[in-house]
């Protein structure tokens, strides 16, 4: 029998292209970079982070400097020395927006960090150990979820007083339940997987199983949850500051600027509320895009 002439004879030779070593992380990064929205979000976030970190350098004035000049106006684009005008208390608005980035991002990053630092170990303990440890922690969670978070936050703030540090502390105290729940659910699901049983059969200790076997699998949903927790913290700070009990004067915070911009002058000076609104929206949008991108990049089963 003659060979099929349509099959080219070179078919069995090895490919000449260099062999690309594919790692899980490398794949994830490649998937993330291919996601245009996620990259846009990342660029926004890096830009805002830079603005927040370099606020002292790039800001034309300090956030608490008050101007009593004749030319000063609250309208933007009137006075070239104050491109966005002054705020209700005659402070340079552009500078306050720049310093506001620092406040919002500090709160946004630190709150989930502390909340995860509390919730994750408890969730790991609860999900891995089970038994009375799980029972105790779950009852704690029951009680903590039953207390309305805003009421609790207000209560704590009225006790410890306002200010950036206290707002971060209070918001972390009221949000550690979600990371706990998520970690517990993940550990419960992985505890019974075959590779864990195999590791145990090979004589791995509990520590090795938790940190070398389960945790790497659990990290990606937790990372995604972390990214989505940041905008929630920014919202919460903005809300508390809007009510006038979050960040204290003269510290600049976008949420507080919206709150004070919404007063009686809003029909004329609506930009005072509009600009910080847009900045909050952009930040949150950036974090959501990055979160969505991470979710798709880290979970190959989900990708189309």
């Amino acid at each position: 029998m003659e060979a099929n002439p349509t099959v080219p004879p070179t078919r069995l030779t090895p490919p000449t292209a260099p062999v690309v070593r594919r790692t899980l992380l490398g794949d994830a990064i490649r998937r993330f970079r291919r996601n245009r929205l996620a990259m846009v979000g990342l660029v926004i976030l890096i830009a805002f982070l830079l603005v927040g970190v370099l606020a002292d350098v790039i800001s034309p004035y300090r956030y608490d400097q008050v101007f009593f000049t004749k030319r000063a106006s609250m309208l933007p684009l009137v006075d070239p020395t104050h491109p966005l005008g002054l705020d209700n208390s005659s402070r340079d608005y552009l500078s306050r927006l720049i310093y506001g980035a620092r406040t919002s991002l500090t709160v946004g990053m630190l709150v989930p960090l502390i909340a995860f630092a509390i919730g994750m170990p408890l969730g790991m303990l609860s999900g891995f150990r089970g038994g009375w440890v799980d029972f105790t922690i779950q009852r704690l969670v029951d009680i903590a979820t039953a207390i309305p978070p805003l009421l609790f936050a207000l209560f704590l703030l009225s006790v410890v007083g306002s200010g950036v540090g206290n707002v971060i502390f209070v918001l972390a105290i009221t949000t550690w339940i979600e990371p706990l729940r998520l970690t517990r659910a993940q550990f419960l699901a992985y505890r019974e997987k075959e590779f864990v049983t195999a590791a145990r059969a090979l004589g791995a200790s509990d520590w090795q199983i938790v940190f070398n076997h389960i945790l790497p699998n659990v990290l990606s949903p937790l990372l995604v949850a972390f990214t989505f927790a940041i905008p929630l913290a920014i919202f919460a700070e903005a809300g508390l500051s809007f009510l006038g009990i979050g960040i204290t004067e003269p510290t600049a915070s976008w949420g507080k600027m919206v709150g004070s911009g919404i007063g009686n002058t809003i029909r004329v000076y609506y930009h005072l509320a509009l600009f910080p609104t847009l900045l909050v929206a952009l930040t949150v949008l950036g974090f959501s895009f990055v979160g969505d991108g991470l979710q798709e990049a880290l979970d190959p089963n989900r990708s189309n």
Binding site: P148, L150, N304
Partner: protein, 318 residues
């Protein structure tokens, strides 16, 4: 099943007991009290008299036990701060219906539109419809609702003059003197309030429906020649409902107890504002009433969620 529900209800009671104890002792441990705050300028004698009148001179433990005894009879005491010091139950009964109306319409709007949008997006995955819906859903969670509320108020309330229109479409109250069942007054608050849950519902619906659409049983159903409609309603939606119930049902107690921000911005005489004022005024009975109300509501919602599981998914046993 009945035994399970009874056990859960007992657990709920225990949680409420624990919550009430924690909140009661915490708020009494904090320096200051309802009558020593601010510049009220009471003389020491007047302060002592006031505290005696409201029973604040007794030791905390005794007050807690008294509170428990009356709370069992649904009497949370009289508010310290609301004008005329009405009973807390009366304040809640007066203001909660307003919040409940807004919350119910919000649930209808957000869950209704969210489910339809999410299913539609999942069905037409990666098409422009899907992208548009995903984009809208992302926008919905991008803006805090107090900001949306303010801008809608400026645009529609001030500029379009809706606030001044007297001839609004109103369906009168069920109870004489109660709040209206349906009126244009609800429009802006409900729209504002519904955006975030709508976005959430749409996102979760999309992801769980598209997960279900990729499952083997859907391929089998297609191969059997079932119509798209049957596949969607008999197979996909039913399976997609399981993860959705976990995430979406816990939204409901939040929506029904009201958003403080929306009530502040739109000036709604609802329950939400007491979550702030009662803390500021150290209105102990009001705080306790609200905390127990929310705790009860949460517990019941979680119980209903777990019962719903068994109805949706026969594999789940309680």
């Amino acid at each position: 099943m009945t035994g399970y529900i009874i056990r859960r209800l007992i657990a709920l009671l225990l949680v409420m007991l624990a919550v009430s104890a924690i909140v009661f002792f915490l708020m009494n441990a904090v320096p200051g009290g309802p009558f020593s705050l601010g510049e009220r300028g009471y003389t020491p004698d007047a302060l002592a008299n006031l505290e005696r009148k409201y029973g604040l001179d007794k030791p905390v433990t005794e007050r807690y036990i008294n509170f428990l005894i009356s709370a069992v009879q649904l009497d949370f005491g009289n508010s310290f701060a609301v004008a005329g010091s009405p009973p807390v139950t009366a304040v809640i009964l007066r203001t909660w219906p307003v919040t409940l109306h807004i919350g119910l319409y919000t649930i209808i709007v957000s869950f209704g539109f969210g489910l339809v949008m999410g299913t539609f997006a999942a069905y037409h995955r990666n098409s422009w419809v899907d992208n548009l819906i995903t984009f809208l859903a992302t926008l919905g969670i991008t803006l805090p609702n107090f900001i949306i509320a303010t801008f809608l108020l400026i645009i529609f309330g001030f500029q379009a003059g809706w606030g001044e229109d007297q001839k609004r479409w109103i369906i009168g109250p069920l109870i004489p003197g109660g709040s209206a069942i349906l009126s244009w007054d609800y429009f802006l608050p409900v729209i504002t309030y519904a955006l975030a849950p709508l976005a959430l519902v749409a996102r979760y619906t999309r992801s769980s429906v598209s997960d279900a659409l990729g499952a083997d049983y859907v391929r089998t159903a297609r191969a059997k020649g079932l119509s798209d409609f049957t596949i969607m309603f008999r197979h996909v939606l039913r399976n997609a409902a399981i993860p959705m119930v976990t995430v979406l049902l816990p939204q409901i107690p939040n929506l029904l107890t009201g958003s403080l921000f929306i009530e502040v911005v739109y000036g709604i005489p609802g329950l939400g504002k007491f979550f702030v004022t009662s803390i500021f005024n150290r209105d102990y009975p009001m705080i306790m009433g609200l905390v127990l109300l929310v705790a009860f509501f949460w517990g019941i919602t979680y119980l209903i969620t777990d019962i719903l599981y068994t109805l949706i998914d026969p594999r789940v046993r309680l």
